[in-house]
């Protein structure tokens, strides 16, 4: 095991904010559950993103005040949301036509593991007693134009999440374009992981040490 030290990296909010900077104006964006959802809080000045939620809404707006939600206006995480002016409702087959047909510009997902080829594992530990559940993740990674992962660089027990090849069951192959962690922004390229940007105060060697595959500069 690689010896781990706690590094002072980006907070989850900072990771989400950093990712939001890279989204062009006018993008159609699908945000996964968890940290990915935080991206919506950090839309840069002057840009508009239109959020797609796979359960049938384009133009998803913020969650309403607690207790004022409509149980029939929810997002993919089953939370109450709102619809912006210019929103549209549609059924599930049309919604996944948007996804599979390459109409969504960007999808942001959490990850258990990402391989240096861009394979993603984020739906199952493969444990024999787990209840398997996949939702729309496999469709999203297969269809969306760009797929970004936002995740802690390592697991709670210090294992690298960026690996040579995934040991957990795959969600998709060669599907991840970029990874935003608490320590760095990393592209998945034809030749493996490549550093885009370090979190201020974090050294390249520290990131490499916590990455389960070679990290190119």
């Amino acid at each position: 095991m690689i010896e781990q030290q706690t590094l002072k990296g980006w907070t989850r909010e900072e990771m989400a904010q950093r990712l939001a900077q890279d989204i062009p104006n006018g993008s159609y964006v699908n945000l996964g559950i968890g940290i990915p959802e935080m991206v919506a809080k950090f839309v840069p000045e002057g840009r508009t993103f239109i959020y797609h939620t796979e359960n049938g809404l384009l133009g998803m707006g913020p969650s309403p005040e607690e207790g004022t939600g409509d149980p029939e206006l929810i997002n993919a995480g089953k939370r109450h949301v709102s619809a912006i002016p210019g929103a549209a409702f549609f059924h599930h087959a049309d919604s996944f036509a948007m996804i599979r047909g390459g109409h969504i510009d960007l999808c942001v997902l959490g990850a258990m593991q990402v391989s240096q080829q861009g394979d993603l594992a984020n739906w199952s530990t493969g444990a024999p007693d787990a209840i398997p559940a996949v939702g729309g993740a496999m469709d999203l990674v297969a269809g969306v134009k760009s797929v970004y992962v936002i995740t802690q660089h390592c697991t709670k027990t210090g294992e690298p999440k960026l690996v040579e090849s995934c040991t957990f069951p795959l969600t998709g192959c060669k599907c991840i374009d970029r990874i935003y962690t608490d320590l760095a922004v990393i592209d998945v390229t034809d030749v493996g992981f490549k550093l885009v940007e370090l979190c201020p105060g974090v050294e390249f060697e520290e990131v490499q040490q916590r990455t389960g595959a070679p990290l190119l500069r």
């Binding site: 939620t53 796979e54 359960n55 049938g56 809404l57 409509d70 149980p71 029939e72 206006l73 929810i74 997002n75 089953k78 619809a83 409702f89 549609f90 059924h91 599930h92 087959a93 919604s95 996944f96 996804i99 599979r100 394979d119 199952s124 007693d129 209840i131 398997p132 559940a133 996949v134 939702g135 729309g136 993740a137 496999m138 469709d139 297969a142 269809g143 069951p169 795959l170 969600t171 998709g172 192959c173």
Partner: protein
Amino acid sequence: MINKQLSSPAEAVADVFDGATIMVSGFGEAGSPIELIHALIDQGATDLTIVSNNTGSGEVGLAALLKAGRVSKVICSFPRTANSTVFPELYRSGKTTLELVPQGTLAERIRAGGAGIPAFYTPAAVGTPLAEGKESRQFDGRDYILEHGLTADFALIKGKAADTYGNVIYNKTARNFGPPMAMAAKNSIVQVSSVVEPGGIDPEIIVTPGIFVDRVVEVANPVHESELVSAGVTYP
């Protein structure tokens, strides 16, 4: 004279038979036809195959149908729910089997079943455990797997309003699987908050044309699953 309206959920599900395949609309609680499901529990049909995105919550609706031991198989994309131990127990004990399908593939298989498409190719799940045993093929250098259309004997669907010809509109994200399921089932049964005369819904805004709908039943004030679960209600 055409009138597809029936008097009650009980009448609407009266002929569901043991061993039937039933599509059930809904994504989480949105669009879940609770009253139709409860009528089906009362009706007693068993050994059912359920096609639905989730497996219900608490011990009402779909979870209650499972709890009652009526479901031998679930075809589903996300059978893990925050507030239910029903499906996990049935699954672990082997009493209910699971066919896990990616959500978009599930939606497309249902639409294909309704549209007379026996099979199609999709890129979703390629290279994953869910592609195991499936035919694969390249088009333009990319890998795809073959998936088959899904049909059902019955569909239980929640809409917002319908006319007596069976034309249906939905409410917000409660639309979800309703329209493709209405297409794919031999007997599509829709509960709505209000039933109107033909002409009562603008023909430009109809989401599910009446040709896909066999029975309509009015449930003026449908319950919300989350409220029942919060209140600790169990059915029956």
